[in-house]
């Protein structure tokens, strides 16, 4: 199993209320499964999938909340060094949408300044039960300068697109960062778990 044959490695972290379908999104994307076998999530830290974008191999490490969101007890360390956040709500659950500002506060507190955040409205297969209008979510996303996408983990709608779009955005930022060499970026190879600069230096 050769692990190092990729050009980029990104850490993507999922957040959002319990039951909005975070795990389903990951499992659908990484394994093409729905619904995910519940038992197997025990002991699973993150999932990995390598995708190819414009000839470059991108390894995505996708982290789930391990259930700590159930009682709003996510560790700060969960947000550290994430390159991207997928903030998920359920379009059939107004409450999961109303909690978004709370999640944004956590992001603001603990996540990296440069983190890419995408808002995802999941469960569009349940259109007849929709409680949150698309326009409303889009407006909210724009106001918070997030990307926005609606998905169905069940029907596999937009799931690939979600992760591929994120990967493209992350590559773009990584290239930009290299050019800028901004001082907010972590020191090369120093204490950074997944740094753009270190991908190539792995043996």
């Amino acid at each position: 199993m050769s692990m190092e044959d990729y050009d980029y490695l990104f850490k993507i972290v999922l957040i959002g209320n319990a039951g909005v379908g975070k795990t389903c999104l990951v499992r659908r994307f990484t394994q093409g499964l729905f619904p995910p076998g519940q038992g197997a999530t025990i002991g699973v830290d993150f999932m990995i999938k390598t995708v190819e974008i414009k000839g470059e191999k991108v390894k995505l490490q996708i982290w789930d909340t391990a259930g700590q969101e159930r009682f709003r007890s996510i560790t700060q360390s969960y947000y550290r060094s994430a390159n991207a956040l997928i903030l998920t709500y359920d379009i059939t659950c107004e409450d999961s949408f109303r909690c978004l500002p709370e999640w944004l506060r956590e992001i603001e507190q603990y996540a990296n300044n440069q983190v890419v955040t995408i808002l995802v409205g999941n469960k569009i297969d349940l259109a007849e039960k929709r409680e949150v209008l698309r326009q409303r979510a889009e407006d909210f996303a724009v106001a918070q300068s997030m990307l926005y996408l609606e998905t169905s983990a069940k029907e596999s709608d937009n799931v690939e697109k979600l992760f591929l779009d994120l990967a493209c955005e992350l590559i773009r930022e990584a290239k930009q960062n290299k050019l800028d060499n901004s001082d907010t970026a972590p020191m090369p190879g120093e204490g950074k778990t997944i740094s753009y600069l270190s991908c190539c230096s792995l043996n």
């Binding site: 199993m1 692990m3 190092e4 490695l9 209320n17 319990a18 990484t30 394994q31 093409g32 499964l33 729905f34 995910p36 076998g37 038992g39 197997a40 025990i42 002991g43 699973v44 830290d45 993150f46 999932m47 990995i48 999938k49 390894k59 490490q61 391990a66 259930g67 700590q68 159930r70 009682f71 709003r72 007890s73 560790t75 700060q76 360390s77 969960y78 550290r80 060094s81 409450d95 909690c99 709370e102 603001e108 507190q109 603990y110 001082d183 972590p186 020191m187 190879g189 120093e190 204490g191 950074k192 778990t193 997944i194 740094s195 270190s198 792995l202 043996n203």
Partner: protein
């Protein structure tokens, strides 16, 4: 968010998210015990927590409530569920304004407990950082309540590697060991390379030091003869000279003048043993601060099914009269939750149930935000341990850790300095003499070459090593953990967790390696997985809930992890390299 009810049956309920509680939570959960882990606070890690600048200000406010009512000569005994009384004598000083216009008199320093918020905010921002900037950039700070380092071959690092919890954190090396001597800060040469490169040592001293360091690794007749006599005596009989004796006693062994020889030698050996595993000093520090470590263990616990609930507590225990065992707990919402074992942080135990009601010892702590390093060097990004021997007879030895912005614990342009010592008086009494000697403050404004203190905090914290964890009047399946101790290492907390785990589950492995996510095969959905794109899914999942992928790579890794050797960093899978990257890189 909807207030969901907790499940009502667990194997282990744990109250408090300090390091020892979090380690034991991960250990229980890892071997399949159903764990409920709660903390009444809104943040993780209790007295082990780290805070943003603003978070720290709120924490100070909270402490203020109890400590401000305390008068001279009085003591606080807290009842259960109110604040524990593990913190006292909180004092805050803000000097940003004084620094911006340096001529100002002492009047500008607040001797009270309030930061000088309103006054400093109006200050013109010259080059110096003002209070408003500290607040604005507050989230860049991660200020630990406890100041410790990780010995690179200590039990915490071994446990992080063994359990794979290391994948949740990133580490940096302590880059230099410094000491304060004759009014100056000097670098202590500790590795072979340092010794040879040192400019402050003569050739003769270099030779003597190398000979000593080599010879002390093995126990000799001569050493045995000094058993029970002070290490200082042993050292001075080695004819090492003042320089070397100082380095060896205060910075390498880090003991006092009357520590017995066998103890001094043991800590010298431990220091040397840890050298070179990851770098030129024996220590690592987690990026974002020590408060990350308990959280990492909590994550491991959650990954294996542990349930987490902050802002939640346990109000009573239901004890079976006959067996004197705790059968269930009542949580702060009045729900009955049954459990076979209950683990609790000492501060939650009500005073009347304890053998000794109040902590017998305290640690004095100071936290400074400064504008430069105590010892300039080519690199701005140094992480230093500074040993400060007692500045006068009867004063405690002070340990200082200076963190640079690349540790993600302070904003660019500042350094975060932690001072720690065993309490003799209040934290201010114990530590401010050292601060005014080594830094520029309104009281020491003539020290123009020293770093200026922008903001500082003093407080005392109960010393966990002075806290009784056994012998309380409690049911037999209730286990008590003490809070953080004043020592440099994490040994005590890890040992406590391990010993309680072994008591409860003597036949289970303590924190066996968690499987590498890349090696897990998923089962149960085989029918749906026919279209699996990833080559990994091609393998049909058999039996158990997870399996290591067959094949050489997987097997080899497991063996290496078992031995917890450094080879893991070089030969482990991609993820592992990343986890320990900071350390790994520095090992070069």
């Amino acid at each position: 968010m909807a207030a969901e009810d907790l499940p009502s049956e667990f194997d282990v309920v744990i109250l408090g998210t300090g390091l020892a509680e979090s380690v034991v939570a991960a250990a229980f959960s890892r071997v399949g015990q159903r764990v409920l882990h709660v903390d009444r606070r809104s943040y993780y890690a209790g007295d082990w927590a780290s805070f943003t600048f603003n978070g720290l200000l709120s924490w100070i406010q909270e402490q203020h409530v109890s400590t401000s009512l305390l008068e001279e000569g009085e003591e606080l005994i807290c009842l259960s569920n109110s604040d524990s009384g593990s913190i006292r004598n909180v004092q805050v000083f803000c000097f940003t304004r004084w620094i911006t216009d340096c001529f100002v008199t002492q009047a500008s320093q607040t001797q009270g407990e309030e930061p000088e918020a309103d006054r400093s905010q109006s200050e013109p921002a010259k080059k110096k950082i003002n209070y408003a900037q500290l607040v604005k950039e507050g989230r860049r700070f991660n200020i630990d309540l406890v100041s410790k380092l990780m010995y690179s071959r200590g039990s915490l690092v071994d446990l992080l590697i063994k359990s794979n919890v290391s994948r949740y954190a990133e580490f940096k090396n302590i880059t230099r060991i410094l000491t304060y001597r004759h009014g100056n800060v000097e670098q202590v040469p500790c590795s072979r390379a340092d010794v040879f490169a040192s400019r402050q040592l003569s050739v003769v001293e270099k030779r003597k030091l190398m000979r000593f360091l080599t010879s002390c690794m093995e126990e000799t007749e001569e050493q045995r003869a000094y058993k029970g006599r002070p290490y200082l005596e042993f050292l001075s009989d080695q004819q090492l000279g003042d320089n070397l004796q100082h380095f060896l006693l205060h910075s390498i062994a880090m003991v006092t003048e009357d520590t017995p020889t066998e103890e001094g030698l043991a800590s010298t050996r431990h220091f040397l043993h840890c050298l070179g595993r990851y770098g030129n000093t024996p220590f690592l520090f987690p990026v974002y601060g020590l408060g990350e470590i308990p959280q990492c263990f909590c994550r491991m616990c959650a990954v294996f099914g542990g349930i987490y609930c902050l802002r939640h507590s346990v109000s009573c225990l239901l004890v079976d009269k006959e067996s004197n065992r705790c059968k269930a707990v009542i949580d702060s919402r009045g729900q009955r939750i049954s459990c076979s074992h209950f683990v609790v942080e000492e501060c939650y135990v009500p005073a009347n149930q304890k053998k000794v009601a109040t902590p017998s010892r305290f640690v004095s702590r100071a936290v400074l935000i400064t504008d430069s390093s105590v010892l300039h060097s080519d690199s701005e990004q140094q992480v230093s341990l500074v040993t400060v021997p007692p500045i006068a007879a009867g004063c405690p030895a002070v340990r200082m850790v200076e963190l640079c912005p690349s540790t993600m614990t302070c904003m660019p342009g500042t350094y975060l300095v932690h001072l720690t010592c065993q309490s003799v008086g209040s934290a201010y009494e114990d530590l401010s003499p050292v601060v005014t000697r080594m830094f520029r403050t309104p009281e020491s404004h003539d020290r123009e070459n020293c770093p200026s203190v922008l903001w500082c905090l003093y407080f005392n914290m109960a010393d966990g090593s002075g806290v009784e964890v056994e012998g309380h009047d409690l049911p037999s399946n209730v286990y008590v953990f003490s809070g953080p101790d004043g020592g440099l290492s994490h040994e005590r907390a890890v040992r406590q967790a391990e010993s309680i785990f072994n008591k409860v589950l003597p036949d289970e492995d303590f924190c066996p390696p968690a499987p590498n996510p890349e090696d897990i095969i998923y089962d149960g959905d085989t029918a749906a997985s026919t279209g699996g794109e990833d080559e990994k899914q091609e393998k049909e999942g058999a039996g158990g809930e997870e399996k290591n992928e067959e094949g050489e790579a997987g097997e080899e890794e497991k063996k290496e992890e078992g031995r917890a050797g450094e080879e893991e960093q070089k030969e482990g899978a991609g993820e592992e390299i990343h986890e320990k990257e900071g350390a790994g890189d520095l090992a070069e």
